[in-house]
Symmetry: C2
Subunit: 332 residues, 2 copies
């Protein structure tokens, strides 16, 4: 048995009315008698009618779908943020169409083109591309855009925590806990930087660290590789005080914690560790790693609501800085 999806036309034929009338019934618009309306709805049920969103969107010019262009899902921060965006979008009757870029600007632009071609009402982008050409392309799409995580430029509304300020404060926070040295760890972005990929977020965080170090008049040390011996050597050379490792993201902090355990360095007695993002898995790891909570749900809500205001032609939208908090941790 072949099932052919029924259409408005089928219902109209069955009820002996026009397509327009069926539309009035189905979308409860005015100008229809209760009697014909219920007759039509009944017929729709019998025929197991379900609307074709393609046709509807084509006719209406809007899809009630927003495109989300994300880097990957392995990163727990990203997947949680997408869950948050999905949830708030759903509350507002929107669906999301997800594209992954895997840090490839070409893939990214392809994906964005696809979404634009599918006429999404707006885009939330975790950008990996950058530059004048890139911006021009995006603007030509003429679709409302909100960026998160990485910023493109001031021409695009950006919603995020202020990673720079947070890291700057983190340095002071660590110093106040009595540490005499703060080592910054920032692994895996050299390659991306070399390829001209947008690493705004990571650079902000590192610059914040550098500013914090200046504030405290300390000596800066930035590690761009996970060089175990180097880390240990740095920590152990801190004879008259104690060193802490400030990591640009939590996974690094976990690795440092394991390294210290491996080498018999007691945390936080002999050295401190602090991460960033407060990813889920930290809950299951002991000792509880000190981290920064970026209020992912809030971030997702804000990003969506600002996008929605753009979609609804609100001209008065601006960047939004999300609040954060230092978590309670046992590693500082």
């Amino acid at each position: 048995m072949i099932i052919i999806a029924s259409t408005i036309k089928d219902i109209a034929a069955l009820c002996g009315v026009s397509e327009g009338t069926v539309d009035r019934a189905l979308n409860n618009r005015s100008g229809i008698s209760e009697k014909t309306k219920s007759r039509i709805l009944q017929a729709a049920r019998e025929l197991d009618y379900h609307p074709n969103h393609l046709a509807r969107s084509l006719a209406k010019g809007s899809t009630y779908t927003i495109g989300v262009v994300c880097i990957n899902l392995s990163n727990n921060f990203f997947s949680l943020l997408i869950e948050a965006i999905e949830a708030i979008a759903k509350e507002n009757g929107y669906f999301i169409n997800l594209i992954l870029t895997h840090n490839d600007p070409v893939r990214e632009m392809e994906g964005i083109r696809y979404l634009a071609g599918r006429k999404v009402d707006g885009l939330i982008i975790f950008p990996v591309g950058m530059g004048k050409e890139y911006e021009k392309e995006l603007k030509k799409l003429n679709v409302p855009i909100v960026t998160v995580y990485n910023r493109i430029s001031s021409d695009f509304i950006h919603v995020d925590v202020d990673g720079r300020q947070i890291m700057r404060n983190a340095v002071s926070y660590i110093v106040q806990k009595g540490y005499s040295r703060v080592i910054y760890m920032d692994v895996g972005i050299q390659n991306l930087r070399r390829q001209g990929i947008n690493i705004y977020s990571m650079e902000e965080r590192r610059n914040g660290y550098l500013e914090g170090i200046k504030d405290e008049m300390m000596k800066e040390i930035v590690l761009e590789d996970f060089d175990k011996d180097r880390i240990i050597q740095l920590v152990e050379s801190e004879k008259h005080g104690k060193a802490a490792v400030l990591c640009s993201y939590d996974v690094l902090a976990i690795k440092v914690l394991n390294l210290f355990r491996e080498r018999g360095i007691k945390v936080p007695d002999q050295a401190g560790i602090m991460g960033f993002d407060n990813i889920d898995i930290l809950k299951t790891i002991s000792p509880r790693i000190q981290s920064v909570d970026c209020g992912i749900r809030n971030l997702g809500r804000k990003a969506f609501s600002i996008l929605l205001r753009q979609i609804n032609k609100d001209r008065n939208v601006h960047d939004c800085v999300i609040g954060y908090s230092f978590t309670e941790g046992e590693t500082l």
Copy 2:
């Protein structure tokens, strides 16, 4: 300046040809002279033409998009599998449209309806619904479907590892390592079971454990709560031998590891731990937790390729069991 997306009509007008001819040029179909073709392509570039996929799909009846209906993204196993599906889909010129169900069958059916209304060419579902009504609804959609993770019934093609067999073998594997007791840990499904939600995968795993226990003529112990004292008591009561905790998923294994560390139980000297899924984060945790690798990439590829064969009207498709391997671990 308002930018209006250009259409085939615009190109046709600019070139003084018909829309049909423009279509021939754009989709390099036969029946057009090189000269007009290049003229049209040139015009398309000038007008910055990009196809409207909604219209195209409506006309062609296919979208080159597959719907993925997943439970959530917090679970690393799910997010990795989705990454794998996305990658292979992309290789084949397909995009994915993602819906999250959060273990809610109502949300799930809404999402599936939406995807069907958007005329996706096929669906990959991590089902949470079950039952005759549910199956009937799905069948009525008349869309190719592949299920992963949970099975619905033999009426739907299913692709996954054989969790039952794996767990059964895991018991023997543990016993061969010299353990005298295997405790099974399976937290968080009681609620779902009570609500009538599909937990096929988790039940298969547990049943496999029970079978393994029978094979080995041991005593079964299934823990459905993370009761720290109970776990410790069970482990410590194993005086003449050693107990291992077999966990239905890795996050539990991490928690058990932490518990043991907290209570001073040496792993694997005094007790063993084994997880399931081999999620990413295990790489960063030491000691390396013994787990089961389900070849997620392979699973994603197979699920997609079987779906694709269904889309292409291949009648000869069957369930597929994915190979697995026990990882190298330091906790057994």
